[in-house]
Subunit: 514 residues, 2 copies
Amino acid sequence: MQGLKEKTTMPASTEGNGWSHVDTVQLNGSKEDLPETDSFVQQAMTLIMDEVVRKAGHASGKVCEWRSPEDLTKLLDLELGEAGEAPAQTLQHCRDAIHYSVKTNHPHFFNQLYVGLDHYAMVGSFVTEATQPSLYTYEMAPVHCLIEKVVLGKMMEMMGWVEGGDGIFNPGGSMSNMYAMNLARFQRFPEVKEQGLSACPRLILFTSEECHYSVAKAAAFLGIGTKNVYVVPADQSGKMIPKELEKQIRTAISEGAVPFMVNATAGTTVLGSFDPIEELADVCEEHNLWLHVDACWGGAAVLSNKHKHLLKGVHRAHSVAWNPHKMLMAGQQCSAFLVRDKTGLLQRCHSACASYLFQKDKFYDISCDTGDKSVQCGRKADAFRFWLMWKALGTRELERRVDHALEMARYLTEGIKKRDGFRLLMEPEYTNVCFWYIPPSMRKIPDSPEFWQKVEAVAPKIKERMMKTGSLMVGYQSHGINANFFRMIIISPWVSTKDMDFVLDEIHRLGADL
Amino acid sequence: MQGLKEKTTMPASTEGNGWSHVDTVQLNGSKEDLPETDSFVQQAMTLIMDEVVRKAGHASGKVCEWRSPEDLTKLLDLELGEAGEAPAQTLQHCRDAIHYSVKTNHPHFFNQLYVGLDHYAMVGSFVTEATQPSLYTYEMAPVHCLIEKVVLGKMMEMMGWVEGGDGIFNPGGSMSNMYAMNLARFQRFPEVKEQGLSACPRLILFTSEECHYSVAKAAAFLGIGTKNVYVVPADQSGKMIPKELEKQIRTAISEGAVPFMVNATAGTTVLGSFDPIEELADVCEEHNLWLHVDACWGGAAVLSNKHKHLLKGVHRAHSVAWNPHKMLMAGQQCSAFLVRDKTGLLQRCHSACASYLFQKDKFYDISCDTGDKSVQCGRKADAFRFWLMWKALGTRELERRVDHALEMARYLTEGIKKRDGFRLLMEPEYTNVCFWYIPPSMRKIPDSPEFWQKVEAVAPKIKERMMKTGSLMVGYQSHGINANFFRMIIISPWVSTKDMDFVLDEIHRLGADL
């Protein structure tokens, strides 16, 4: 492509080299004339292989190369200019981007509800990035329309939906939760699509205080309003209390508002708790409410014979959001929205029937054109990565990985209980392990507001040190009445008991002097 | 990873090889022990290099390998099973996915408002896929938070926003249009975030009949309702008529409703028309309406000194949606939402302040944590690909590419005018060239309902033949009173006048007997 640029500076008449120019615009020329492209892509692939696939996942390297925003701005050559640059410089940008990015595949990365991605999934993403399908129509994405259908079908089977249903992949679980909300209100008040909420009564949905913040964002975005999300208290283990839900439903009705949906969470963001879906389904049935299960994080438990009880009752949900890019490492974004309806609700709710994509006079079965089920237009082939890794690994290996992560969480929990200076927030149900580290200087202070005030400052300080050292990444936060604590998330099938021991050793090493 | 699976079938006590098992769960083991991974990724990269980078963009190959949904289902091995498979089989799935996917980088692919992607952008996407940043916080995506800011700033500069503004990358232009709608109503009625639309008057927005269907989808999704989107007539060249807009505004007011936003389109989906932004800005100012410009498709024209007049007045817009994955080939999804506000409107409108991500006691400048401006939670690093190709190519080369595409569209248009049997729908402003092909057997029939009824069947039939031949992909559609016509979209800097001639030759070849 360097070649192209050089050629544009040549005079208009360049006969003999096969290029012609009209009005300063070069008219001929094709990629095949550009060996530089080939060489650049080849070098970049080697770089990714060396610096990411081989190195970034090694325990011997750093999890992150922390630089402040000011310093990193100086280090990176960010400005966009009039002229291009040599491929070697562009490769250097790639090298820098890798170097200063968090190594999400590193065995000491426990910071988020995802870690890196499986290598099969990575290859799957390279295939879709290189080929650029877009899932509006079968014509434009034949392979991926079929694969999405198979993957959704299998996920529904895992949820125990014996009669199947419908679904779609979305750019993230927040979107899936929005889809649930939109379907729930449309099913109850179909006129909302045309007339909007100004033609509806005040609609109320219910979710627990432990739910993901996307529920509030969705309610604001969809015009429902955050105050019409009634927040139901959770018990000490972070589970929504069905009796409290019933109370809130009665309150809403007494106000003249119309309850329409309950959002249950399977795997809460902070504590990793699972709402009691079966009991919530009973309440929903009684009050004719849509039951959505936000299983973005916890959905993977259905793959494990040992742990699928956590989602007991999910076969009764009207819809489920499940992100294989979280626990299963399918790479962001890989977020499935599943709906048990089989009457075409998803299509009716979202369709706009654009004539330039969804022609009725096509020569193939247009039921394969799934794009109008989405509120997006172009849509990436997110199911492919997950399908490819599932094919490669098989369901049993996915199950083993889920079991491994939960077993590691148990091991870590026992370690926390045994060690001086570590205090567990609660027994984990999933792989969120929440705990405080109490430095030696504070260990003799009795539990009191002063004690917890001191504790509040510990995790942020240790976090700063671990980022600057680059040895470990674990998140922290305060939560309700609880002062700042570490929230450790275990996902990777490649972490071992040694890595768990390392986490506690390292936190102690970083915080012992506080 | 095959290795891993084999090991899980081994007995629990496997001392000596460094693996240990508890409760059938393997506890140790890391990726470094898996040479198969390395070899698989390496082979997959070679496959992508050979089959996509080197071959799929060649004019000598097919644009698509059409198979009916039934046949393709049989050809692909889609089912997901209990056991995994050998890496060679997984590679074969990748090969199949590439083979049966549309070659969006092929020089004869003119079907959508995007084609494949630039090779620098492709490499950029491999880097972000492999490293998996997520843009909630600076801590999690330091490089990409900075790069997104630089790219948005540069895009605003191109729009003539001398004082800058704010913005965010979204998964698609449909989302950006939703953002505009949500900001417009929030700015006017801030209470909508908490109380929802049931606390607002009936809100009305305006858009032309030529706008993208995402405007209707957005209105439905956001609870505004499709009937509250007032559709303004366009003139014969597809541009919204400002006087008709004023009429509609008066109608809305007379109904007691509240107009709040005008959606102008810069580059309409079918005709490629540009609404008269300057005049629409005058109307918006007079009536205190938010002016959003959907420049997803046409935004790239601002890069061209020759063609930027198409967006004259865009500096007065309140917000703009611009997708570099369309005309600029930055790879899907690369969709910027730009907002001229500098008071933090985007953040106030969308924020939920989740304590586990957006802690206030961080050790760095939290203004770099941009995630709460989004309605998503995890967000991909979509700006990076665009930034990387912009760095590599420079602004001048981007300009040259835009000019080249428009020049090709002119060349094709002249060809259509000259050739027997081709009829132009209208003079193109951008690179959408809309035309009919009239087979010889119909050329003597006078213009009449019967004639157009016959013409209606021509494009679908030729489309079927081009798909089955795999020689060419051009979209078709009916539009208003116009019978099915071809809508040809030109984007790639690598297509030449020869490719334009080929399109007309090939359509004639495929349809001459009809």
